[in-house]
Amino acid sequence: MCALCGVLGGTEHWTDAIARPGVFTRHTDAASRRRERMNRVAAANRVLSCYRMNLADWQGSAFVLSSATGKTEIVDNLAHLWMAAERLLGRPCDPLDEELIALMERERG
């Protein structure tokens, strides 16, 4: 149960599945979890920077999403990231947007 909000049993996101037989996850031990969390922040920022937004780890338990104008929002996991980003941005974050794809292609070099 979450001590802050009292919600029973957090929602398991597929990118962060609980380790169990047959399931692929990097959610195995403390070091792997920490490493994957850092990777996730870096990978998200690669996309978010195109919107002039930034994601940071918050105490290893959540993330803080910030916009260029200083608006911030706490997000639990990737399931909520894009919803929050669109709220702060006021427009859709679409990975099929050709302008965004072109930016990502340029960043990729």
Binding site: R26, V47, W82, P95, L96, R108
Partner: protein, 342 residues
Amino acid sequence: MADATPDFTPVTLITGFLGSGKTTLLQRLLLDPTLSDTAVLINEFGEIGLDHHLLERIDETMVMLQSGCICCTIRGELSTAIKDLHSRRECGLLPPFRRLVIESTGLADPFPILSTVRSDPVLRHHFCLGNVITTVDAVNGARQLDAQPESVKQVAVADRLVLTKTDLATAEAADRLTNRLRQINPGAPLLRGVEDDLDADALLSADDDGVERWQPADRHGLTPDDHHRHADDIRALALSFDEPVDWTRFGIWLTMLLHRHGNELLRVKGILNVADAETPVAVHAVQHLVHPPRHLGAWPDGDRRSRMVFIARGLDPALIERSFRAFSSVPHTANRSRGMRQ
């Protein structure tokens, strides 16, 4: 009890449009000894005609068949019916069934049923999603695909397709419909209910072998032009790439894609060569719903390329491919072939 019951009981959904042969398929399956450790949730006892095969009537909604299969009608909420079955199993009031089969109504969109199993706070800790089996009527199937969006969706999300009533349709009509089904869903093995000897275990099984089975069908089912053909505004895109996939970047990309286009992305299936993972990872999604990624024991056929199939309504396959490559940092030198290598 712990030994007899798997940690997560797989749930198979049998769907298909009204009159497409779901009940007939169930009648065949229910008599199969393979289903002796299976619980089946059906719409009505009356339709399925179980009287000759009853072993015991447990109560007004539940019976046990001679094969050992538990058969139960759905009254009210589906989640309540599944929880009731689970509760009785845990209390020892029912035999420890190892899988659950649900028959959907003909007009049902399969997504809410799958979503119930994955999202319900109790069910998601005891049940996991198995296969979606879709029956398509060889006589009326083409007309239903034209007129009924639910029918197209039922085909698109299927893991197994069963073409029924082929004895009542002309060979040309059945072949035309087969081609159309292959265009909508190139990944799902297609069986003929009349001619094929349906192996209940293979039909219901959603283990690692399931991924192996859909790939050969892909290779032979797709031609280079298939992904640009319009089929009910639904297009299938098959991608393959040689270089390993960055799992974290892929997760960011697919989550973003499903957040924005989950309603249009009817099905995503893939077997990925993940960087720093020895064995392949299978990814399955139905609209917004992504199954926990599965770590397969070995590559199915020695081909270590990542392969993905997207079945989307109204989305440009070329953009999906370009976006995937840009976000996942796949170098430009990657294999550009979209179809499977023959």
